[in-house]
Amino acid sequence: MRWVDTLERNKQKVIETWFQKIIETYPEETAKFLKAQKNPFLNPVGGAIREGLEGIVNWIISGGKSEEVIPFLDRIIRIRAIQEFKPSEALQFIIELKVIIRNICSQESSVGLEAVDALVDKLLMESFDVFSKCREDLYEIRVQEIKDKTFRLLQRAGVLYEISPESEQRDR
């Protein structure tokens, strides 16, 4: 049987195992909450992780052909990029997927399992981009906030003489 078929059949199991691995990177009390509370509005982090993981596993099953994986990576990484993780810790969960799929799929005779490695490597590369984008967004937002706070005052004080208000408004 092709590994993709095995994976598709075991999709929920893969997602659950992967979810468990991710929440174990949080303190014990937090992990319990992330797992137990199923309402995505009361547990947005747990909800986003589940949603992201499902999207990523579907992408793997589709053979990684679609470009649609970035929003799902973003769902998870955008959160981890602003939590108490180093970049390596924030993205470690991607590598876990190799082991999880291997463990689950190798229990049944699966053909061509090595293809998973390349797909997960591709995911990891995309993840670096997503993580960097999130941190860049954060810094950009900080700068923008400072500008917003002072723009009107500088405008009234005439300090923005060299910048036309129209162009500044457009840029904003």
Binding site: E24, Y26, T30, F33, F41, P44, E145, D148, R156
Partner: protein, 541 residues
């Protein structure tokens, strides 16, 4: 011969769980983005707070006074005697955990010390050690611990990770108000001169000049005049507001954020247009030029002290009552504290709307009403001509600001106004609004830029609910009635839901309001073309 483990056996030995450390032993790490900067000494000196000095959060030595422990413990003692609530809250918690998962900082950060029960436990453990027999005798076994520089730093770190939003208290079976614990926790921090720059700057500016930014009267007036120019450009009608006018019927006070920071400025234009259209006999004060009160994030005394300028101006100008602009914590203070602080000046009367005759009985003790209740009353009595289709390019949702919703119970008025000034309004899921609303994540004086990472964590549950209505109904505008919200939800949306902009309620009122003698409007207050007017505005350009 020793056997070599197989790869899959090696994988099993990797433990992903963070190392187990008893919470009392885990030290705080100050990472940039997760703490606010220390206050500059001149801000403390300006309002006479003790131990003004240069110090840095990331340095080991916080330059605490030599008898700091004594000051801190005496501070607890004094407050236990003074505030019955504090005493009860220190003793009564049974650690049932009902509050544990209700805090936006816990949900967004995953840090267990942000569970309200544990955050309060940081202080309770000190209380037990120095004020209970079991704690004195049994120490850690009784949940008590010594006050050390490390524990003080931890208390400091986490009391600035609570926005005093009170969502947790809603779920506490004993009614423990964690916000009050934070308020006391911050007062104790102040005894050692350790407040943050973003709170003490506005406090000292407010005390000396009248508003958070330290804007002087001429600049304040100039800014309002500038808004009148803008309004004239959009509507052809020019409001003529007055400043410091004696004998006006009403004094209007709004957070200075509305006067100086986008997008609050558009809300301010909305106020000006509304009052002009009504022909309201009102005045601005360039001295009581701030509705916000960061004294509330410093100490009870400081909040009381900073508030007085509003009553002093009301007395000097001889007005009958006060209308306050769209602000959050201003209303919690007025609603829950003011009546026990100051008696209103004798010239103030129970507010009566001069347009509808409605008597605002609930404001009997303070003589101050919220502009949203004033406007809702006008609409209910059919006193405003509105064209909600001018906001048809917007699909709006409403963020209940913690202080006005949970703090005051004002849920219906803003929604009533919204439904009358725009045609597309969708609420967020019920468990995230009204009394259960999620905080913006930056309230209580934490809206500073160096704290951006933590703010994104704290605001995540709110943003998640906005994301839902954005995806489901195409919501592109998040309305709110709080100046801090207007300032902080903007970056929050930029990070989590970039399609959504932020506005105040009266910006939408200003757009929809049909003014006497106005020209055909082609743009909204932001200068964007009105629906159906895209071609006209192109020609203008």
């Amino acid at each position: 011969m020793a056997s070599v483990p197989k790869p899959n056996e090696l994988v099993k030995t990797i433990n992903h769980t963070p190392p187990e450390t008893w919470w009392m032993d885990k030290k705080v790490e100050f990472r940039p983005g997760t703490f606010c900067n220390a206050s500059r000494p001149q801000y403390l000196e300006a309002v006479g707070l003790p131990f003004a000095r240069e110090w840095r959060v990331t340095e080991d030595d916080w330059k605490l006074p030599s008898n700091w422990k004594e000051i801190y413990i005496n501070g607890i003692k004094e407050r236990l005697e003074r505030f019955r609530t504090f005493k009860v809250f220190m003793d009564i918690c049974v650690r049932c955990g009902a509050c544990a998962d209700k805090c936006h900082f816990f949900i967004g950060s995953g840090d267990p010390k942000n569970m309200p029960v544990l955050r309060a436990e940081l202080l309770r453990s000190i209380y037990r050690r120095y004020f209970t027999t079991s704690g004195k005798l049994l120490g850690r076994t009784a949940g008590a611990r010594d006050l050390t520089e490390e524990t003080f730093k931890e208390l400091w770190y986490y009391f600035f990770q609570c926005t005093e939003c009170r969502r947790c208290s809603l779920f506490c079976p004993y009614g423990i108000d964690t916000a009050e614990i934070t308020i006391i926790g911050r007062e104790l921090i102040n005894l050692l001169g350790c407040n943050i720059d973003w709170i003490m700057g506005p406090v000292s500016n407010c005390y000396r000049v009248g508003n958070h930014l330290g804007i002087q009267p001429h600049a304040f007036r100039d800014m309002i005049e500038f808004f009148c120019d803008e309004i004239e450009g959009v509507t052809g009608v020019r409001p003529e507001p007055s400043f410091n006018r004696k004998g006006a019927e009403i004094l209007f006070v709004t957070p200075s954020g509305d006067v100086f920071a986008d997008p609050g400025t558009y809300t301010c234009m909305g106020y000006l247009m509304l009052f002009h259209e009504l022909g309201l006999d009102y005045t601005w004060s360039t001295y009581a030029s701030e509705g916000g009160n960061f004294g509330f994030f410093t100490s009870h005394e400081m909040a009381k002290r900073l508030h007085y300028k509003i009553y002093a101006e009301a007395e000097r100008l001889g007005v009958k009552f006060i209308i306050g602009g769209e602000c959050g914590h201003m209303w919690r203070l007025l609603h829950q504290y003011l009546a026990t602080w100051w008696k209103p000046p004798k010239n103030l009367e129970v507010p009566v709307s001069p347009i509808t005759g409605t008597r605002f009985e609930h404001a009997k003790s303070t003589k101050i009403i919220h502009i949203v209740e004033f406007t809702a009353d006008l609409i209910k009595h059919g006193k405003l001509k509105l064209d909600p289709s001018r906001n048809d390019n917007l699909i709006v949702t409403f963020h209940d600001s913690c202080n006005v919703s949970r703090g005051m119970g004002m849920f219906e008025e803003p929604r009533y106004v919204l439904k009358n000034v725009c045609n597309n309004f969708y609420d967020m899921p019920p468990e995230t609004i009204r009394e259960q609303t999620f905080c913006c994540g930056s309230g209580s004086g934490l809206n500073t830029d160096e704290y951006m990472e933590m703010r994104m964590r704290g605001g995540m549950p709110r943003a998640n609910a906005v994301r839902h209505v954005n995806e489901k109904y195409g919501v592109n505008m998040l309305a709110c009635i709080c100046a801090i919200d207007r300032a902080v939800l903007t970056p929050l949306m930029r990070y989590w839901v970039p399609d959504v902009q932020v506005c105040g309620l009266h910006e939408l009122v200003g757009n929809a309001l049909i003014m006497t003698g106005e020209q055909t409007r082609t743009t909204n207050l932001r200068g964007e073309p009105l629906p159906g007017m895209e071609e006209e505005t192109d020609e203008d350009l």
